[in-house]
Amino acid sequence: MSHDEIVKEMRDILTGLRPDIDTAQTADSTRLADDLGMDSLTLLLMALKSEKVFGIRFENMQASSFATVGDVCRYIEGKLQ
């Protein structure tokens, strides 16, 4: 799965979790806390949903580990390799 495909899947995941935010403009540089208003719990939900969608296991779900959408997508990319 390419990086762009992972970003696209992430947009769908974020839309499901946060229907109130505009995920169409989500990109690698989008900040999880500052731009998407995500806290430790929404990050956890995102990780849990990603585990189901991508069939991977998040080893670390600490909010401080991921600053941007790109950080999460690269983590997933690494797990898929």
Binding site: L17, R18, D20, I21, D22, T23, Q25, T26, T30, A33, D34, D35, L36, G37, M38, D39, S40, L41, T42, L44, L45, A47, L48, K49, K52, M61, Q62, A63, S64
Partner: protein
Amino acid sequence: MSEKYFMDLLTEEEQALHVRLSTVGELEKLTLERYAAKPAINTPAAELTYAQMWDMVGRFRGFLAGEGIKTGEKIAVALPNSAECIEAFLAVTTYGAIAVMVAGTGPVQSKEEACGVAGCKYAFCRENLNGIICWDPAEIILPGAAPAAVLKPEDPVAAFFTGGTSGTLKCALLSNKALMTGTYNGVFGPSPVFGQRYYGLIPFSHIFGTVRNMLTCFLTGSCIRPCTDMSAIVQDMKEYKPTLLVLIPALAGMLLNLTKLYGKDVFGGELKLIVTGGAPQHTEMARVYIEDLGINLVSGYGLTETANLVSGNVEVLTHQNSVGKVYDFQEVRFVDQEIQIRGDNIFLGYINDPEETKASFDGEWFKTGDLGYMDEEGYLFITGRIKNLIYFSNGEKICPEQIEARVDRMPGVKASMVSMKKNSFGANVLTCEVYTDKDQPKTETRIRSAIDEMNNTLQDFTRIRQVVFRYEDFPRTAAMKIRRQ
């Protein structure tokens, strides 16, 4: 006031078991007599019975005695939710010292500030705090157990931080009697209430976490698993199967999202009751829990200064928007719509702040700063909040005025207002509006940098996520205070 109403929620057997205690020390005696072999604290690694828990508490008391701690000394308990946090709290309060509960997950600076406000010279803490003698429970060597001190109901026993009525950081001091009155009233709810499995999600630094979650759990011979890591929630609930959750409404809403991913079983399959407090409960969320998921939900109202519990609503679907009936051992009156309370649950005053303490009372009546009324059936309604608190999903809340006071001191800032506002993504984030001079880009850059620096000293959830500049003053009230939306 509503003793029969609340007592009727319990079965006859539960009514016989339910006793009112006047000190934390009496809780030790009672639970050792009744529940010594029953589980008190559960962690993924081990389960402590009441006998084992109180033995550890006694050894913590032995440690305090060995350190020469005197009665009435203020000791910060700045630990994240954990078995050690519970043991340290119980040890300090039964030793005769005062447990000052400080958020255990924040940066070192906020812990140091809290210790400074409360005047603590000692702390149970995992980090080193400047100017404070710190004991890390993982590193100290505990000696043999020391007995509990003999304390009076009026003796001060614990302190919790609050925004107070003026918005600056204050530390409310509570007596044994106040803490145990809150705990007694915390027991009332839909049966069964004894022998439950609690999950410690709300921080114990929050009075809701200590009184309604920790102490009420022990008074009912229940067991608690402290949530040491939010990322372990799903695994914890799957393993531990809680029967009762004490939550802030926003957190209850987040957990509802988990059921969309995993179904109702995400709670472990045995959850019967959710108790919410600390912020207004939305009826629709309650309806989903009660009608769609078959999990009862009750809500309540209270403040740090009232030992948490003022009123409880066990009929959230039929008495919508009410915070319920007022618990016993307190009286409520309304002065110009402001809710004022007196009774056994009222705090002793703010530590090191006699002026604010004086301003918070009218005689023996505590002025809550909340506006409301009571209907003919005795249901209490809150119509407004003077305090402007902002609530977060992790159970914490902040006074925007505290952050504004720091921003206002930054060069170039004429005034500021902190609130939750939508950003360009449509997400609600903590936003600071700054009133400054127009066409001063360097000033704006400096202000942004200063806010970034300030953010590094704040807990994650209190950080400013968006800065918006404005070039005319905020709308103001007749008293020249910023008019909040």
